[in-house]
């Protein structure tokens, strides 16, 4: 044990001389967990994907969103977004096999992402209805920077992967080693650092467009 660690622990021991047993700590923690559900904002009272879709478009999250029937319709939805916003038809495509298997004719695709990338298209691991949050796990087919470098981030998410509350997401991965990064993305980047005024598009994307995929 390093000297610093030993000294810090000795100082803790001085103030808290009789540590509880692991069993007692686990019991106390279980009692705390039993109290979580009544403290959650009581708002996920419909189908999670519907609540999610409403939430992401609410003023607090302020993303744009649409629904498509299946992933095959994604390239067309992306093309519509790109043309509507007068963006170049060149997109950085997250290297996810589901996305790579689609027909992207009419759009120029690349898999590396530039520092000032105008548009990136990705697939989220899932979403959380309570807060209108997209969840990304860093993995070989889901690099972290795809969610942070583009100016416009278009994200597809499957309706079946929308968790109702934040705790439903965490429950799914209990006991597993997390990826290097778990990124919760709730709206486009913003800042309130100048006079508390919210401005979108700080360092991360200025626009977030969410496409909910029914199947």
């Amino acid at each position: 044990m390093s000297n610093a660690k030993a000294e810090i622990f000795a100082a803790i021991r001085k103030s808290l001389p009789s540590p509880s047993s692991a069993t007692n700590i686990a019991e106390a923690l279980a009692a705390l967990r039993n109290r979580v559900n009544p403290t959650r904002p009581d708002r996920v009272n419909g189908a999670p994907d519907e609540v999610f879709l409403a939430r992401v478009q609410s003023p607090g999250v302020a993303a744009s969103a649409e629904r498509i029937a299946n992933l095959d319709n994604l390239p067309a939805a992306v093309a519509r977004y790109v043309s509507k916003n007068n963006l170049p038809p060149s997109i950085a495509l997250q290297p996810h096999p589901d996305l790579q298997g689609l027909n992207w004719s009419g759009l120029h695709i690349h898999h590396d992402i530039a520092t000032d990338e105008p548009v990136a298209v990705g697939l989220a691991l899932g979403g959380i209805a309570e807060t209108g949050t997209l969840v990304f796990h860093s993995q070989p087919h889901s690099p972290t920077l795809f969610a942070f470098l583009p100016l416009h981030h278009i994200v597809a998410v499957y309706a079946e992967t929308i968790w109702p509350w934040l705790e439903d997401y965490t429950a799914e991965f209990v006991g597993q080693t997390p990826p290097r990064n778990i990124n919760f993305v709730t709206g486009a980047s913003g800042t309130t650092d100048i006079e508390g005024t919210l401005v979108r598009g700080a360092h991360g994307p200025g626009w977030l467009h969410i496409i909910l995929v029914e199947q």
Partner: protein, 467 residues
């Protein structure tokens, strides 16, 4: 006049500062109130948040041990620092070993507390602050004046001038949007070119060995992903048992800080880049810092270790809103700072801080983890009194008051005299100047007393009721 009083006088005389403080704190209070209003379960959640933090602090040794073991398992390197200086030495050492020329930093109050910006500069390493507010104060060569909005003391006009002088091709800077865009363009390449990224952590997750950061700008992830090395500096009290508890704490923290439900980016960082990952650092270091936390535990300030650093207490503090953060002369301003600073830096030097408080109780009411701030502030006043740091003038005044308060007849007599004497100085019901009241009337008027003393009104009311 003490150094604190000197800083307060100049703050009160600064009209621009007052505008800047009002603009941000008013927005913050309004947004927080709306967010809490839309969450009927807040009171229960607040009690749960308090109990989670108390549970962790009571079992700090257990959870620190668990956190360290899990972090090491994921490939993180864990370092321990007793003091701020020791922490800085560790960070600078890692930077030097990595041959770092340039370091990006995502806002961390602990980093400010331990003097990390200065330590990096002293080591000749280029430091790029990436949070917009920290970028502003780095350009201005100043220190943060608020723990959530470090540049709260700057008006948009002042930020515009600063960017015009320092940014490459700033373009028009008439609106806040244009200023944010100019900062985005100017910091973009710095993010990608840095050798080391340094962040703080809002939470340490004991059962995974990961750390959690919350930001709105996305600067934390751009600080921690491109460089080869990511260093986290974090206080040992930031632990939560698991991701589940982190969710409760996030609900409380973000609503209390900015009035949002979640920040735009909540990221859990666990270990370095994994095999096959296309981005992420090769080295992930966590520096666990004591720097006075175990001392607070020993001094009976365990409740203060619940603090989530949301800033709600200062946004609601009538004193902070008049004088701003710099006047406190400490890393942490406002009510939470008035409790932490005397412990960290000594009551002798910072005895003014717990006294710069009206004890109106607002800070304690808005605290998302129910820290009894007024009680802790009163505790410091008592300590300052017992240790003899009370200035002679207030000591004499308090002893005089005690003398009168123990003699009700004399007290009433004195109150009656004051009531007759004060209106002589009033013009249209307000006193602008009066002997012995200069401390008050320099900055505001005093209302002229009306309707007799409390006791005479009380007696009159009773007589009326008896009839």
């Amino acid at each position: 006049m003490s150094a604190f009083q000197g800083r307060v006088s100049s703050a009160l005389a600064d009209a621009t500062l007052k505008i800047a403080i009002d603009r941000t704190t008013n927005t913050a209070r309004t947004k927080r109130a709306a967010a809490i209003g839309a969450w009927p379960e807040f009171a229960e959640a607040r009690e749960l948040g308090r109990d989670i933090k108390d549970h962790v602090i009571a079992n700090l040794e257990y959870y620190l041990t668990q956190f360290e073991a899990n972090a090491i398992k994921t490939g993180a390197k864990v370092h321990w620092a007793r003091t701020g200086q020791e922490a800085c030495e560790i960070v600078v050492g890692i930077c030097k070993a990595a041959n770092a020329k340039s370091v990006t930093r995502s806002k961390s109050m602990l980093g400010e507390e331990i003097g990390l910006p200065h330590a990096l500069e002293a080591a000749g390493i280029e430091r790029v602050e990436t949070d917009l507010a920290e970028h502003i104060i780095q350009l201005a060569g100043e220190k943060p004046s608020h723990i959530i909005w470090p540049a709260l003391h700057k008006t948009r006009e002042q930020v515009g001038e600063l960017f015009r002088a320092n940014h490459t091709d700033p373009g028009a800077l008439a609106s806040v949007e244009q200023m944010v865009n100019s900062a985005r363009r100017n910091l973009r390449e710095k993010f990608m070119a840095a050798d080391v990224g340094i962040s703080g952590a809002n939470f340490l997750i004991a059962d995974t060995g990961g750390i959690c950061t919350v930001t709105n700008e996305g600067n934390a992830e751009l600080t921690t992903t491109p460089p080869r090395v990511h260093i986290v500096t974090v206080g040992i009290e930031k632990l939560v048992p698991s991701m589940t508890e982190a969710m409760t704490m996030l609900r409380l923290l973000v609503r209390s800080a900015t009035g949002a439900e979640l920040t735009q980016y909540t990221t859990f960082h666990t270990g370095p880049k994994r095999p096959g990952d296309l981005d992420g650092p090769e080295e992930f270091h966590i520096v666990l810092v004591d720097a006075g936390r175990t001392k607070m535990l020993a001094e009976g300030l365990a409740e203060m270790l619940r603090c989530l650093r949301c800033g709600a207490c200062m946004n609601h503090c009538v004193v902070f809103r008049q004088i701003g953060g710099h006047a406190y002369g400490s890393t942490y301003p406002g009510p939470m700072g008035s409790v932490i600073t005397p412990s960290q830096d000594g009551i002798e030097q910072f005895q003014d801080l717990p006294r710069a408080c009206t004890l109106n109780g607002q800070c304690g009411e808005v605290c998302p983890v129910a820290i009894p701030l007024p009680k802790l502030i009163r505790g410091w006043r008592t300590k300052a009194w017992v240790q003899g740091y009370e200035p002679a003038i207030s000591k004499t005044a308090l002893l005089l008051w005690r003398f009168l308060a123990l003699r009700p007849g004399l007290y009433q007599f004195a109150s009656n005299i004051a009531l007759r004497f004060m209106p002589i100085f009033a013009r249209s019901g307000w006193i602008a100047k009066m002997p012995l009241a200069g401390g008050w009337t320099t900055y505001r008027d005093l209302p002229s007393p009306q309707g007799g003393t409390f006791l005479s009104q009380y007696k009159a009311k009773h007589r009326k009721a008896a009839k």
